[in-house]
């Protein structure tokens, strides 16, 4: 993004600023502020965003001021001169040996104070932290090609600071490696600008820093599933031509990039990503090949396996049906541009990535791209059991095809557990990624979520589900508040894995029962994706078209329309 484009984005922003993000730094914020505002506006769908800045040369004070002011997030940029002003170009205290020793003492003290300041700020809002991006001035007597005690000590101090703050759940640290890819070290420093205006970065570095900071602070929801091809993708070779023993993924077979890809798939599967195979191949041969003991991704982590000679888009369609997720949450990796194009035409939202098997460097870049699509900060229990629950569902197709019968539901042995969700990371994740059964499609920042969980008359609960086919984990979230005689619900989402179990009916029944409210008012908004949620309300609307706004549901009306329910309810919410 050029500076002129950033200013255009800012100029075209609409509405009143509803979010405040702090840019916490010790230099003049200048172009970092401009680019930051532009990227935040883009991330907020064109709505104005307020970027708050602090005082020049006072990083510690700015951290404190940001905490006292409050906001939706902060981006803290630490430069060498914030650790000791003598490490910047605008200082004139001399570079004598005793000065350098004193700098090291000061840096260690400042590091501790910055760590505390960042931790306190992270207690009230999410924080993205960027470490020093500039080269140190030539202070020590060593030639610049050598690293001596002085420089190494400083590097250790910064590494320790970043490593310590990265332990806090609300702090993310920008990757210096990722920053270097787009902003090489030698083209970051604008010396003249630093001396003239106290702004040390080139326009390019300011732009990259702002962009990556926004990605760190407000990451896009990760994709949910990856569908992979086999020949020349999961392994080198054409299975039908060379046979199961001759396809390879090893250094010896000059096919190590396929080994790396398999390792990545295994790691993704461990973190809860769904992995499936769509391959134009002989199903018997594929089954045999997947039994090879040297595969680096366990076949049990791959489900379903679609091997056939039909169009690849049909295989993808079957996989999406089993996973019960939208195409825009899925990535397809295939070596064939034609197959990718065919699937892309049928599923425009599905991201198609080509596996460039003949170009190792491009494969390594692809692995980075894939990791970026699926990156997450933590792995939850639900991530670990997701594949098994999908497998369980798929393995009883006759009974769950369409809506299950009351007799079947009665025999499920279903247990629903309701629990308060004030500091539940899973609840936050579910609300921000669920599309199909979502009351209004609203997404929340960490700060907004914290505020919601602390509403004085509010409630926020998760619903976990388990039946004789296994646990689904926490699959629904309900949130709202009470006014006199009325319960207001403004958050209601349920994972698509939990459909067809009447969990939505039991959830509302429990809400009526626990609150004693004669009426529940839902803050409803139709979206392109929340058809299943609309179907639920349609069963109570008596043929009246649903409109955005407040939907009212009376207890008596609900009881009349509610089907027979068989769940055992384990109430940990209001006990």
């Amino acid at each position: 993004m050029r500076l002129s484009e950033a200013l255009q984005v800012i100029g075209q922003a609409e509405g009143d600023a509803q979010r405040t993000v702090h840019l916490v730094c010790g230099f003049s914020p200048l172009h970092v502020e401009t680019f930051l505002k532009a990227y935040l506006i883009q991330r907020s769908s064109g709505v104005r965003v307020n970027v708050a800045t602090g005082l020049y040369g006072d990083l510690e004070g700015n951290l404190q001021r940001a905490r006292e002011t409050g906001g939706d997030g902060a981006i803290a940029v630490v430069e060498w001169s914030d650790l000791d002003s003598r490490l910047g170009l605008r200082a004139s205290a001399g570079w004598r040996a005793e000065t350098l020793n004193d700098i090291l003492v000061q840096v260690d003290e400042r590091r501790e104070r910055l760590k505390d300041g960042l931790a306190r700020l992270a207690a009230v809002m999410p924080v993205a932290v960027a470490g020093p991006a500039l080269a140190l001035p030539p202070l020590s007597i060593l030639p610049p090609t050598q690293s001596g005690d002085f420089e190494l000590h400083l590097n250790v101090a910064v590494t320790m600071l970043l490593q310590q703050v990265a332990q806090y759940p609300a702090i993310t640290v920008l990757s210096s490696g990722s920053l270097s890819l787009l902003s090489p070290a030698e083209s970051r420093h604008d010396v003249k600008m630093e001396l003239h205006a106290g702004f040390p970065y080139t326009l390019k570095h300011a732009e990259v820093l702002a962009h990556q900071s926004v990605q760190c602070l407000f990451p896009l929801p990760p994709k949910k599933g990856l569908i992979t091809d086999l020949d020349q993708t999961l392994w080198k070779g054409i299975l039908g031509d060379v046979g199961t023993d001759a396809v390879s993924w090893s250094l010896e077979g000059k096919s190590q990039v396929h080994a790396l890809y398999q390792q990545l798939l295994s790691s993704l599967a461990e973190s809860g990503v769904l992995v499936a195979i769509a391959s134009k191949n002989d199903p018997t041969l594929v089954e045999e090949a997947l039994k090879r003991s040297d595969l680096l991704v366990e076949p049990s982590k791959i489900f379903p396996v679609e091997a056939s000679w039909g169009p690849k888009s049909e295989a993808v369609s079957r996989i999406l049906k089993v996973w019960n997720i939208g195409a825009d949450s899925v990535v397809l990796v295939d070596d064939s541009p034609m197959e990718l194009a065919e699937v892309g035409e049928q599923f425009p939202g599905l991201e198609c990535l080509r596996f460039p098997s003949d170009d190792p460097a491009a494969v390594v870049a692809l692995l980075g791209q894939i990791r970026e699509r699926f990156g997450k900060k933590r792995v939850l229990e639900e991530d670990r059991i997701r594949l098994q629950s999908i497998r369980n569902t798929a393995e009883r197709p006759a009974e769950i095809a369409g809506e299950p019968t009351a007799d079947f539901l009665a025999r499920l042995g279903a247990v629903m557990t309701l629990e308060a969700a004030s500091s539940d990371a899973r609840a936050f994740e579910l609300v921000n990624k669920t599309n199909q059964f979502n009351l209004n499609g609203l997404r929340y920042t960490d700060a907004e979520w914290n505020a919601i969980s602390q509403r004085p008359d509010g409630f926020l609960l998760t619903v976990a589900y388990e039946d004789r086919f296994g646990p689904l984990g926490r699959i629904a979230v309900l949130g709202g508040y009470y006014t006199k005689d009325t319960c207001h619900v403004d958050i209601w989402v349920m994972s698509c894995r939990a459909f067809s179990r009447q969990i939505e009916f039991q959830s509302i029944r429990q809400l009526f029962a626990k609150t004693g409210a004669p009426e529940i008012r839902f803050r409803f908004k139709a979206t392109d994706r929340n058809g299943p949620l609309q179907s639920f309300f349609a069963s109570f609307s008596h043929g009246v078209e649903l409109k955005d706004g407040e939907l009212r549901l009376g207890a008596e009306d609900f009881d009349r329309q509610c089907p027979q329910l068989f769940h055992k309810v384990n109430d940990k919410w209001m006990t």
Partner: protein, 76 residues
């Protein structure tokens, strides 16, 4: 010169979005209240982008009016 003024006008539109284009010709740091040192730096960077050339901050330090900027750009 017209080309310089047209490009400079585009820079002014972004740096001073509240300023009416009819006022560009007479605009200077004293009459435009948003025209502070930060705006001057933004303006010079926009000029660098628009004219695809390096701008020496010190050389343009005193060019704090539309006319002065246009003259400086024309000379170079």
């Amino acid at each position: 010169m017209d080309d310089v003024r047209e490009k400079l006008g585009r820079c002014f539109a972004l740096a001073f979005p509240k300023l009416d284009p009819s006022q560009y010709a007479t605009a200077n740091a004293e009459t435009v209240k948003e025209w502070d040192s930060i705006a001057q730096l933004t303006l010079l960077n926009l000029i660098a982008e628009e004219f695809e050339r390096e701008i020496d901050l010190e050389e343009f330090e005193d060019a704090t009016s539309f006319e002065a900027l246009a003259r400086a750009l024309q000379v170079q």
